[in-house]
Subunit: 318 residues, 2 copies
Amino acid sequence: MRERRVRSYAIIGAGALGGWYGARLHHAGCSVHFLLHSDYAQVTRNGLRVESPCGEFSVRAPQAYQRPQDMPACDVALVGLKTTQNHLLPQLLPPVVRRDGCVLVMQNGLGVEELAAAAVNRCVQVLGGMAFLCSHKVGPGHIRHMDYGDVRLGHYSPDGRPAGLTRHVQQVAEDFTRAGVTVHVEEDLVLARWKKLVWNVPYNGLSVVLNATTDKLMADQDTRALCEALMLEVVEGAAAFGRAISRDFVQLMLANTEQMVAYKPSMMLDWEQGRPMEIEAIHGNPLRAAAGRGIVLPRLSMLYQQLRFLSARVRCSA
Amino acid sequence: MRERRVRSYAIIGAGALGGWYGARLHHAGCSVHFLLHSDYAQVTRNGLRVESPCGEFSVRAPQAYQRPQDMPACDVALVGLKTTQNHLLPQLLPPVVRRDGCVLVMQNGLGVEELAAAAVNRCVQVLGGMAFLCSHKVGPGHIRHMDYGDVRLGHYSPDGRPAGLTRHVQQVAEDFTRAGVTVHVEEDLVLARWKKLVWNVPYNGLSVVLNATTDKLMADQDTRALCEALMLEVVEGAAAFGRAISRDFVQLMLANTEQMVAYKPSMMLDWEQGRPMEIEAIHGNPLRAAAGRGIVLPRLSMLYQQLRFLSARVRCSA
């Protein structure tokens, strides 16, 4: 058995998501470097505090940086920013990832790997990660993990074809598994992304427009039917890219959501707290992708327009 | 020149609309009978107070009734109720209209004449009226007219074919004109109803869902485009009934609304004041009518579902 090389991770955006996975990877023996913005002073002074029902995952003296130029080039750059900050990727990514390394984009929505790929050298591989995670930042450098944390991982290929189980995916999956994270490896990242949208499109969007948690949306016959109709439009979008999502999967998403307690999707939390919403990644990009293949998705289009209106109004009145 | 017979009107629902037109018809010499509910005591004591920038139209000693059975059978029964009260028509209408008289349904939406026709004797004719009116009730038996008041009138035919300019329409138009109301006679009521929906569907619905006056909806590119898309779905619905509404008409509605000052559609006022909204007449009926001809209108369907959700939530929490 050959000796395992310790892989290095650059965590871009050490918030509720990046902070949680970064802390877990650190405790699993990876060399983890945190890029911090507003929390830098707090974290260098007092460390990164990470609480969880699974135990304490704080990092007492993290390798923390204010500028990407000061960071070492790592094997993996984990993008834990919200998609609304993706315009920063061309500045943030190049210095922190090795020429033969990879970027792991752990974000919501569609088209997010494209942006990362455009920001880095062509030799750098890009992976997509989808986290099913409940955690939030309770203060500067202070993260509270509530529940879950499974990750779906897949390799991005610029031509859109399924990339299969690549070496990079296997290595990252190995590190996450060692860190106690349940990993599902996806051979077809495009399919996995569209499947995630089946849930994200209706619940994130309608929770904001109708100011309602998931239980309210499911208890009402009209909005339940609307969630299903929106899901079927996402299925139609996926089909335009040759990805089949079954009706059973749609029914499963509905049934699962019905079983959940009152849940506020991330977009509703962003909306309530006056943060920018991930409208382009979750609604705009699938809409445009489908339109590019000649497919009109009228309900998704309407939801997108309603969300943009609400978002613009907040910015105007701010 | 033969002598003109004074025609009698039963005003069913003497609110902001019925009270205003009833008072004007009274001052024009018609015999007007007001059916009142909660305002009966006030009106019999102090009369019906009607203010307007055009002058004072109060009725000092109106012929007021609490029960339809106590009213004379009139030439015209003017329905001034909100469509949300149309379940009362079978009780209210039969006693108040002559066998050779007519019902004038002055309401929003689609399918409202059908309900009136089903409530009365087959000999009774049914007319549809669409008022472009700004007035409101400021207190019991006290109506304030703000602006406008034009009426579009057309004859309802059960088979849906254009009824043309019938005697009943001409007589009612004559009375309204004598009362100083500008009347547009419509040879095709179905077409007129769908044309009115071109405006009513987007602005009434979106003003509630997005909590926005018309100026806000028009100033934003996304909601302006959504208003247009909804209008085009209404045009599609009309086409399913053989009624052609031109693209120019849609552009005219958009341009006119852009010129208006901040305006709260009636549904927004109902919503803000906790009153039932006319969702079924304005959104549900055209949706079902189109569905009956095999036409799916996805944005209108989504708007309807959103409005029903909001409406049900209020009722639950009340």
